[in-house]
Subunit: 200 residues, 2 copies
């Protein structure tokens, strides 16, 4: 079976990472997520902890932007470009599932990429962040909203595209339909994508 | 098999209407599109031709807005409300496929609605509008863009939501993956929706 490279962008608490893992298991494909940070670190020579710090702190407020333009931007751009390079090398090896890291954008030149966006109603995401991810219940709504904002800013800053725009993805799924049915739909699409996609 | 009511919003030229028809055939469900105009006309007592004219002319430019506030708005609101009422009565009868007409919004109180958005890259939509719908080739790009704008304005005006926001839909599909695979995915989702959707 010829599978595409599958990229998954996901709202915080949507279960998109779990969907990606289950999909990779179902299709017997390699799965990449935080491993990318380590690979990118090795590639760029930057310390892993430093990359994590830059990623977590990215916030496009005016003052941060001013500050980052002076201090941080070259480093964060370097991290992003190193991650893009790692993602391209991973995709070059063959079909896989890559969650996050603007992978759809990093692989925009490839025709064999199936790009997925997973979202969910806020209440469900709050419940999953609290009950499954173990986030602090007293501040979980703020955590969910802030993580989304960080991801949207990060994606928008580097890609000049809107993170939640469905036009960036072949399929966008509300995980409220159930994680298993989402995995099942994505597996069916992955199985047919290489035959039917006019651009692949 | 217990199916949901399936609403489909679609960009012009995306093949969303064809997907809706094929899906209705596959699941053996009633299909509603322009028939709604006739039903709404009967419901509201307004002439069918007049409703078509109002719908086609809705354009939220400043001048039109000014004009419509004075002249047309009560009529167009009346048309919209009549259509919403018809859509609710249709849904009350049982599972079906409804294309367009802000049906997802009209049925927002129901938990048994599967809401779908179909989009596609502009080049593919232009080609379909020209080759399948038979639109005038010399002006087809403008036609596609204008019809999208009309639909987005119509949806935004009445629902206060963004037409292409994936959060309004359980699934958003780029029909560039192929109409038949889109139908197949939607059929699979429809078959499981009533069991797995926590809100249904």
């Amino acid at each position: 079976m010829a599978y595409p490279v599958i990229t998954i962008a996901r709202e915080y608490g949507s279960g998109g990472r779990i969907i990606g893992q289950k999909l990779a298991q179902k299709l017997v494909l390699p799965f990449y997520d935080k491993e990318l940070i380590s690979l990118a670190a090795k590639e760029s020579g930057l310390a892993e902890e430093f990359i994590r710090t830059v990623e977590q702190k990215r916030n496009l407020s005016f003052l941060y932007n001013l500050y980052s333009n002076l201090q941080m931007l070259p480093a964060s751009d370097q991290v992003f470009l190193a991650q893009c390079q790692v993602i391209r090398e991973i995709a070059e090896k063959g079909p896989c599932v890559i969650v996050g890291r603007c992978a759809d954008y990093a692989l925009r030149e490839r025709k064999d990429c199936l790009n997925v966006f997973i979202h969910a109603p806020l209440a469900e995401r709050i419940a999953r962040a609290r009950d499954v991810y173990g986030d602090d219940a007293s501040d979980v709504e703020n955590t969910v909203l802030k993580r989304d904002k960080d991801r949207a800013n990060y994606y928008g800053y580097f890609t000049f595209q809107k993170w939640s725009d469905p036009h960036n993805y072949h399929i966008a799924i509300d995980s409220g339909i159930g994680l298993d049915i989402a995995v099942s739909l994505l597996a069916e699409l992955a199985e047919h994508f290489m035959e039917v996609c006019p651009n692949a």
